[in-house]
């Protein structure tokens, strides 16, 4: 299984903090983003934004980053701490 987390504005927009996906059908972050962007207009809007950030196992990643069973993905808007 792959765990996908959403933070801040995205969590509120989707009404989803976390979901699980079967690992078999996905080999990169891009595959997951494509799958999720088909789940409705809110989902689509997130993955359409150029500045959406993604982390794999709590490290910054890219659309091309590979994923495997047991990974933790997170999608979030640009950070605004400090």
């Amino acid at each position: 299984m792959i765990t996908v987390l959403f933070f801040a504005k995205y969590r509120e927009l989707l009404g989803t903090e976390q979901l699980q996906l079967e690992a078999e059908s996905f080999s990169s972050v891009r595959d997951i983003a494509q799958h999720l962007s088909q789940q409705g207009s809110e989902w689509h809007s997130i993955f359409e934004q150029a500045n959406t950030m993604v982390a794999v196992n709590q490290k910054m990643a890219k659309l091309d980053s590979p994923i495997q069973d047991g990974d933790e993905l997170a999608f979030f808007p640009p950070v605004t701490g400090g």
């Binding site: 933070f7 490290k59 997170a74 701490g81 400090g82």
Partner: protein
């Protein structure tokens, strides 16, 4: 190196205690300590609509946040040969005048400590997974990232590329 994400307030006393502990163990190597404190300030969006920020809610990605802050401190310590660095960032609901973030650097000479604090804040602002939500008298809204913050962080990356 000391890194912490916490709900509780912090005091500058912590900087003193941390670095005097270093001196006890390593001898009088520290010649300069620079600290930066970020606070919640009063803020009105525009004078016409009177929308006033009453509180900030700070959200973070537990685990990743701490490791990004550790990475920032480690990089700064190496880049400027610091004696030590401390980063504390608060989360939860904060009000005007509250402390948000503390960065402190100890080094042999002042310029290194100044630069290291500047670097840590610039990188923290664009790469540590924290998000601010404003509570105003008109409702709630997520704070948008500022391009000026990304430009500030980008300068360090450009500098690194030129040096290497």
């Amino acid at each position: 190196m000391f890194v912490r994400v916490q709900k509780e307030d912090f005091s500058l006393k912590l900087v003193e205690e941390r670095f005097s502990e270093y001196t006890k163990l390593q001898g009088a190597k520290i010649g300069a300590i620079v600290t930066f404190t970020g606070l919640v300030r009063e803020f009105q969006h525009t004078s016409e609509d009177q929308e006033e920020v009453q509180a900030l809610i700070l959200e973070h990605y537990p685990g990743m946040t701490e490791s990004v802050l550790e990475q920032i401190a480690q990089t700064a310590i190496k880049k400027w040969q610091l004696n030590d660095m401390l980063i504390i960032h608060r989360v939860g609901t904060l009000f005007p005048t509250d402390n948000i973030v503390l960065v402190a650097a100890a080094s042999a000479h002042r310029q290194d400590a100044f630069d290291a604090c500047q670097y840590a804040m610039d990188i923290l602002k664009t790469s540590a997974p924290f998000w601010k939500k404003e509570q105003t008298n008109k409702g709630e809204r997520w704070v948008d990232a500022k391009s000026s913050d990304y430009n500030a962080a980008g300068q360090w990356i450009t500098q690194d590329l030129q040096e290497n």
